[in-house]
């Protein structure tokens, strides 16, 4: 079989050694194919594999059988069956997930990310595009530039693909008309002017018949450009910039013994050789490269290689740091303007805290402002309070500590990040850094001389936050009130933050949507922290329905100072009590977003104190909490 051209087959047969030598120097091009459901995307890839002889006889036999059984091409081969891998996809005749395909020619190896066309799979297209050099955008010649075409072009430009092949397909169905081709091309160019795509290469083709796919078409003499495969073999590969300043995020500190200390990582940009002066970011410490190692010593290494470096000095350097050139070290910041592509069913809420992974560093982050979202079909900017699945927004984000970065347009490796949900651990978003916000450098933490421990000691107690969570009407405020009376009687200094009361003042501007609930708790968490800093015992009585925000409030305090009190009253019981008549109103639909009725409550998984109000009276609950405070030394005076 020639999975290669006939010349190559001859060479393989005649001189395998020469063939291998020739093929060791092949380059690698990664591209994505996108287009809507019926544009013939799978057919095109099937055709590329088939024509480049990547289909084996046994696969071909299976394809023939499958085509006869479930194909859409009558008696002909249905190439799309070669690539639709999951059985759910085959049944529905659509592509659900990104699939990766491989083929090679005498000149290049290709990795194809085959990405689905439906709007609900925006996340898959972004996934596939994130590692691609080039995008092939399919257009059905009969239908021209469609909404999907615009969406895919926008996503491709957003993710930084600078070279788009406009594959105007199904030319056989429009009589190979040059007019049709040029009309579509003009439409597309007019639209694409608003995007950041450096090069557009239009190719008229018929994937089904193989015209202009792997061989020049004889039916379209008016077209003088290359066929698709020729173009793919010749297009410049936008690999990581070798000319750019050196960057290597430290992935792993290699210490096999006390004589060797190496820093392993993937070179994101530039080149490196022994003797180079480098800066370790974010610390800014300087050293020189002693050795560049793969399994033996290398004279130099370039962007795109995984290597190990040793330094001339014993400087502090660990995973998450970035070894950079001295002349142009990478920047450091903790606040950014970014574009975020939301990829999860649970919406992004500003203020909620997520994990952010950038390079080899993971920190916590939250969106401080959602400036607008982008309608991916019209590119219009739309005001929004949250981002839903497959929505894209311009967001300011704030990180728990500064990270080393480059703008995404400079470096995908140091400018692209993912967000991870702290409870489900799912990857919920992809983000791209535009620039650092200056504020980060201008607001400094003011050091003070009287510490929080000193303030608490003065009051003969240690500071803590008792965080009461539970449904409306569960008895939180009643119990909190009893506890505070006892603390007061013991001469302890406390304060009580009550959900209803705080909403009259500090949080008067917030409603009850998920977004506002997140902000409500964020503010109260910060407030509780300030009061704990003052040495107080802070009682917080808030429904606080979401785990994420309770976790955020917990993380604001030193370990052991946050005690979560779960006032556990089943919905039926709380509703039966209904002290404020709110459940009745909610059931009548007069209150929107009511926790337990029309808005979720996520019970704590491991509260420090769990009160089952079916078995425990309010007085008993207060006893329980006082004992817990006693045991933790909160009342004893000595700070913990």
């Amino acid at each position: 079989m020639g999975r290669v051209s006939e010349d190559a087959s001859d060479l393989i047969a005649a001189d395998i050694g020469a063939y291998l030598k020739q093929h060791e120097t092949k380059s690698l091009l990664r591209f994505i194919t996108c287009g809507s459901v019926d544009d013939g995307k799978s057919t095109l890839i099937g055709r590329l594999l088939y024509d480049s002889k990547m289909v084996f006889e046994d696969q071909l036999a299976a394809l023939e059988a499958d085509s006869a059984r479930g194909g859409t091409q009558g008696a002909g081969l249905d190439f799309s069956l070669l690539v639709d891998g999951l059985s759910a996809e085959r049944e529905q005749g659509i592509t659900i997930d990104v699939a990766y395909r491989f083929f090679s020619t005498d000149r290049r190896k290709f990795i194809v990310a085959d990405t689905p066309g439906h709007e609900q799979y925006t996340r898959n297209m972004v996934t596939g595009a994130s590692t691609a050099d080039v995008a092939i955008l399919l257009i059905d010649a009969r239908r021209g530039v469609l909404t999907q075409t615009r969406r895919h072009s926008y996503l491709a430009s957003l993710i930084g693909i600078r070279s788009v092949i406009l594959a105007i397909n199904k030319m056989d169905l429009v009589d190979y008309s040059r007019d049709v081709y040029e009309r579509i091309l003009n439409d597309y160019r007019a639209f694409a002017r608003g995007l950041d795509i450096a090069h557009i290469e239009p190719i008229p083709m018929s994937a089904l018949l193989g015209e202009n796919v792997t061989r020049p078409s004889t039916t379209m003499p008016w077209y003088e450009g290359p066929d698709l495969l020729t173009y793919l073999e010749e297009v410049e590969i936008s690999t990581r910039p070798v000319e750019a300043p050196f960057r290597m995020p430290v992935q792993w500190v290699n210490r096999p013994n006390s004589d060797f200390r190496g820093f392993s990582g993937f070179v994101a940009a530039g080149t490196v050789q022994p003797g180079d002066a480098v800066k370790i970011m974010p610390s800014g410490r300087q050293s020189h490269i002693a050795r560049v190692i793969l399994d033996g010593d290398l004279p130099y290494a370039t962007a795109g290689q995984s290597i190990t470096l040793t330094l001339a000095d014993e400087v502090d350097c660990s995973r998450g740091d970035v070894i950079s050139s001295v002349e142009a070290p990478a920047e450091v910041s903790d606040q950014f303007e970014t574009t975020i592509v939301w990829m999860n069913d649970t919406p992004m809420l500003p203020g909620r805290s997520y994990l952010l992974k950038l390079g080899t560093k993971t920190v916590t982050a939250s969106v401080t402002a959602l400036k607008h979202k982008v309608n991916v079909n019209t590119l219009e900017q739309v005001a929004a309070r949250q981002l839903n699945l497959n929505e894209i927004g311009l967001c300011n984000i704030s990180l728990s500590e500064p990270v080393v970065f480059d703008a995404y347009t400079t470096s995908r490796d140091l400018g692209g990040f993912i967000l991870i949900d702290r409870f489900t651990n799912e990857t919920v978003a992809a983000g791209m850094i535009h620039f650092a916000l200056r504020r980060a450098q201008n607001i400094h933490w003011q050091a003070v001389d009287i510490t929080r421990a000193a303030r608490a000691t003065q009051k003969a107690q240690s500071a803590c936050v008792l965080w009461f969570t539970g449904l409306s009407g569960s008895g939180k405020s009643t119990i909190a009130n009893l506890v505070e009376k006892r603390l007061f009687a013991l001469g302890k200094h406390s304060t009580l933050l009550d959900g209803d009361n705080v909403r009259h003042g500090l949080n008067r501007d917030l409603g009850f949507t998920d977004t506002d609930r997140v902000e409500n708790i964020r503010r109260v968490g910060e407030l509780a922290r300030l009061m704990a800093d003052a040495g107080l015992i802070v009682l917080v009585s808030f429904i606080s329905p979401f785990r994420s925000e309770r976790r955020m409030a917990r993380d604001l305090l030193p370990p052991g100072e946050f005690l979560e009190v779960f006032v556990d009253t089943p919905l039926e019981l709380a509703e039966a009590r209904d002290p404020k008549g709110l459940y009745k109103k909610a059931r009548r639909g007069e209150i929107k977003h009511f926790t337990g009725i029309s808005s979720p409550y996520e019970p704590p998984e491991a509260p420090e104190i769990h009160i089952d109000t079916r078995r425990t009276s309010s007085e008993e609950a207060a006893d329980l909490i006082m004992r817990a405070l006693e045991e933790r030394g909160v009342l004893g005076g000595a700070p913990g």
Binding site: L86, D97, I418
Partner: protein, 309 residues
């Protein structure tokens, strides 16, 4: 960069496809070492495992990979595989954990009589080994070009507490950022060779002079024909089909597994270049020699949902 131009660095502007694949795999392996609690490398002794192991050695040179190797031994592997395995791990100074489903052995489970053989001695054994040792991340040598459902699997592929793969709930995998966080009980299979093809594997073996099991090279070996496959009579436990007598044939293997289930190809390729030459000129895909794939088109997808590696 001081004097980048004068040191001849411009000449290296483009990495070759093997260099890019190697760099990606090493990056993946190091990322697991940095973030996993207790990783392990599944070592099947085949050519893909050999490449994966070679990459792991490179990733941590001059040190050793900070994780052990795990070999799930069905007790029906080719003898040459076991000998090669032991010699390799000793030479490299690596820890090898061998896991045998002793219950299956006691029950006399064998590839001739039991349809559930692969499930019991391989799939179940692997799950038991991972659970027993508490490994949270396991490297596997699978490649996306092997089979259609593999083409859609992530490099970091999550398994539920009972080791099931849910193809509809895969995490998006962006750039080279891998999310290694998981919930209690969940584990991750990581495939550093995802983007390699069979040809890449062979070219890399040739370029790096990676040792592989001699069974990949043609030699005269005792064989019988059964169920359309040419099988090697590797020891006295082989059941000879009625009417067959073992015959010496010049054969080699494109993949290695349990000898009663692994079909040989007749071949005269006794050197690496000849093997590659044969591979390039051959007309069937490498999985054809494996009995496991041929039931239904979706069989691998189903098997993986059930926990097959």
């Amino acid at each position: 960069m001081p004097d980048a131009g004068s040191s001849g660095l411009q000449a290296v502007a483009g990495l070759t496809h093997l260099q890019r694949l190697e760099a990606e795999s090493i990056h993946i392996i190091r990322e697991v070492a940095a973030e996993a609690e207790k990783p392990v490398m599944l070592y099947s002794v085949g050519k893909d495992s050999a490449v994966m192991l070679h990459l792991a050695m490179k990733a941590f040179a001059p040190g050793k990979p900070p994780f052990p190797l795990l070999h799930v031994n069905t007790t029906w592997k080719f003898r040459d595989m076991i000998a090669f395995r032991d010699a390799q791990t000793t030479a490299l100074g690596l820890e090898l954990i061998e896991w045998i489903n002793q219950d299956g052995v006691a029950r006399g489970i064998n590839p001739f009589d039991h349809d559930a053989y692969t499930d019991i001695m391989k799939t179940e054994a692997l799950k038991a080994a991972l659970d027993h040792h508490g490994f949270d991340v396991a490297f596997g040598g699978a490649r996306r070009d092997e089979e259609k459902s593999r083409a859609k699997e992530r490099i970091f592929s999550f398994r539920s507490a009972d080791h099931r793969w849910d193809p509809k709930r895969q995490r998006p995998e962006l750039w080279s950022l891998y999310n290694t966080r998981k919930n209690k009980g969940e584990s991750i299979r990581v495939f550093p060779l995802s983007n390699w093809t069979e040809l890449d594997i062979w070219q890399y073996i040739a370029r790096e002079s990676i040792p592989i099991v001699p069974l990949y090279f043609a030699a005269m070996r005792p064989t019988v024909r059964a169920n359309g496959l040419t099988l090697m009579v590797d020891d006295e436990r082989m059941r000879i089909p009625a009417g067959e007598t073992p015959e010496l044939r010049m054969i080699r293997f494109r993949t290695l597994g349990c000898y009663p289930l692994t079909g040989a190809v007749e071949s005269h390729a006794t050197t690496l270049p000849e093997v590659i030459q044969e591979m390039l000129l051959t007309k069937t895909s490498e999985r054809q020699g494996r009995a496991i794939d041929r039931d239904t088109t979706a069989s691998m997808e189903k098997k993986k949902q059930e926990g097959y590696f």
